[in-house]
Symmetry: C2
């Protein structure tokens, strides 16, 4: 059975990327080796690594005054690395719009004077706060650009205005829509939703922010360590970076982020329109703040929700259960989810509604 | 051309493991998904994850009072995590027998009172110091069990005697020979040499040593974080753990570590015997301290060494160049290097000697 994977992460990868990786898995382009076992100092891997860095720079239009780092540990590791590297005055402001931005703020408290200047917790994170005021003497403002669990995202309307660099966790939306990198001091993203298998974290950081880490910053959390070594300070997750590189080439061939954004807006539009025109399914996120990537929705009862999740899986629509903090369902429709998958989901939702109304 | 990869890491993986991963790459056992894209909270992945943990416990005979953690960042990240988690009194002693143990000690100085009690630097790390005395009031002693660059290893003769837990970096020898885990407080190893593709680090830690981390220990470096979550605190490197799991099953089928140790001793024996009976090639490590995994050797001149490396590669014996700190050649003959590969190398060495004597 053809399966569509609505998991919030790791997420689907493009079919042609998987097929190419499979074809070259045992013998990469006549090298006689698998990418899983070649030296990270070999000419074979060097080409993979440098192409991936360059292609990401092209895709996101990242200026030369930003480093791109390939690191490990996920966004959770960046929750520590950001304050360890960026706190110079010792102060930062956070906006808490969901689970992970809350965790980021909690972790940062270990390292400095951290103030949560706004949160949407009062309405179970169904919106993004507007017009937030920040302190004047801070090192940075931290936001989570897209809230995977609650299905909301920042847009131009809510983008924070501050007298300090903006740091954004883009784990669940990187490469899904155009972003003006120059508006950020630092962007980080776990790769496992939109880019690659789990085990790679992308950091994009303005060069002037690097090199001011605390004296006791663990070596692998120092941006300078990785920047000075082109992310080859120690053995990087070579195969995962290779897969990321294949995805970058796939996106370039497709026409870049601009093109995938159009497809993503179309996919999300189909699903939100269907939900909004139904009185059987509900999405409670403020329409202007809705995520393009993660679409939570509920039926009228926990029993119906459980039945939906079970029957959806039986129909090849898997990992659609909502996070326990929200309940119900969540369709994560990352870049690699084909339009066809969203249409199949809507078809199933119609059928389920008819059978259970 | 059949290629034998003598890289110091990432290293070769067993042929049958690669073929199985390739076969299941796009559709894992009828799930309709690749392991590279399935949710780490899915039943599919849960089985992969828990089997890998259990199989490693069986292979290394790890008692129940030890946690096994699957983390990220390589041994270099453990250079920080060990002192952050284990320093309670604030003091630790290190033995420096090569490049990585030196880096480990240097990093630990950020976090406590660290003394290097012995080093073999005086003879360019060609031996392991014996009978080292340690302080009585320390939290741990740190050693590197096998020195990848210099080709030496700890044995029963040199194993440290101390009034504190022993912490060992086993990156380049884990699962290559039997180890009595109960003699250690903590074992860590980057997986990319003997276990899996790069991007996974294994930590084996006695339970009573966990939970005493510094208040400002980054969340992802805390052993307690990962121990409490079965290494699923955030998204783990799922595909890399899957590959590790395949290697564990392969080793179990082979008869366990005991059996692979015999093969490793045979392979290393062939190569050392050949070198010792030659006056064209030299290995300068104290014979009793020689590594089973990494065999450095040199010819009489830098020119000959460079020629050897070049011609070896042309003959399918790749990544055999020695580390710049030692020069010459280094044959890394990890678990997955077949006996055939070592024999081909010796054949080539004979031929090269005849042509260049």
């Amino acid at each position: 059975m053809k399966v569509y994977n609505f998991s919030a992460g790791p997420g689907m990868l493009p079919e042609e990327v998987k097929l190419e990786a499979q074809k070259d898995f045992v013998d990469y382009k006549g090298s006689g080796m698998s990418v899983t076992e070649m030296s990270h100092r070999s000419k074979w891997y060097d080409e993979i690594h440098m192409s991936a860095l360059n292609d990401l720079r092209t895709l996101m239009n990242i200026p030369e005054d930003y480093y791109i780092l390939f690191v490990q540990g996920g966004a959770s590791q960046q929750f520590s690395a950001v304050p360890l590297n960026l706190l110079v005055k010792g102060k930062a402001d956070y906006v808490v719009t969901g689970n992970f931005s809350g965790k980021a703020a909690k972790e940062a408290v270990k390292f400095g004077d951290i103030v949560v200047q706004a949160t949407s917790k009062d309405k179970n994170f169904t919106y993004i706060p507007e017009g937030v005021r920040f302190r004047d003497d801070i090192d940075y403002v931290h936001i989570c650009q897209n809230n995977t669990i609650f299905g909301s995202r920042y847009t131009a309307r809510t983008y924070p205005v501050a007298n300090a660099p903006i740091v954004a966790d883009m784990s669940s939306m990187i490469l899904s829509e155009e972003v003006d990198v120059t508006k950020y001091g630092l962007i980080y993203a776990g790769a496992q939703k939109n880019v690659a298998p789990a085990g790679l974290t992308i950091v994009i950081v303005r060069k002037d922010l690097v090199g001011h880490e605390r004296a006791d910053c663990p070596v692998m959390l120092s941006y300078k360590t990785q920047a000075d070594a082109d992310s080859l300070y120690n053995t990087p997750p070579c195969f995962t970076i290779y897969m990321a590189g294949l995805v970058f080439k796939y996106l370039l061939k497709l026409g870049g982020v601009k093109e995938i954004q159009k497809i993503n807006e179309y996919k999300a539009g189909l699903l939100y329109d269907f939900i909004d025109n139904s009185d059987f399914y509900h999405n409670y996120v403020n329409p202007a703040d809705r995520s393009l990537m993660n679409v939570p929705f509920v039926c009228a009862s926990d029993e119906l929700n459980a039945k939906f999740v079970k029957e959806a899986a039986e129909n090849g629509l898997v990992s659609i259960k909502g996070h326990k903090l929200v309940g119900g369902m969540r369709a994560s429709i990352y870049n690699a989810m084909p339009v066809e998958g969203v249409k199949k989901l809507i078809e199933f939702m119609k059928k389920f509604e008819t059978e259970n109304k």
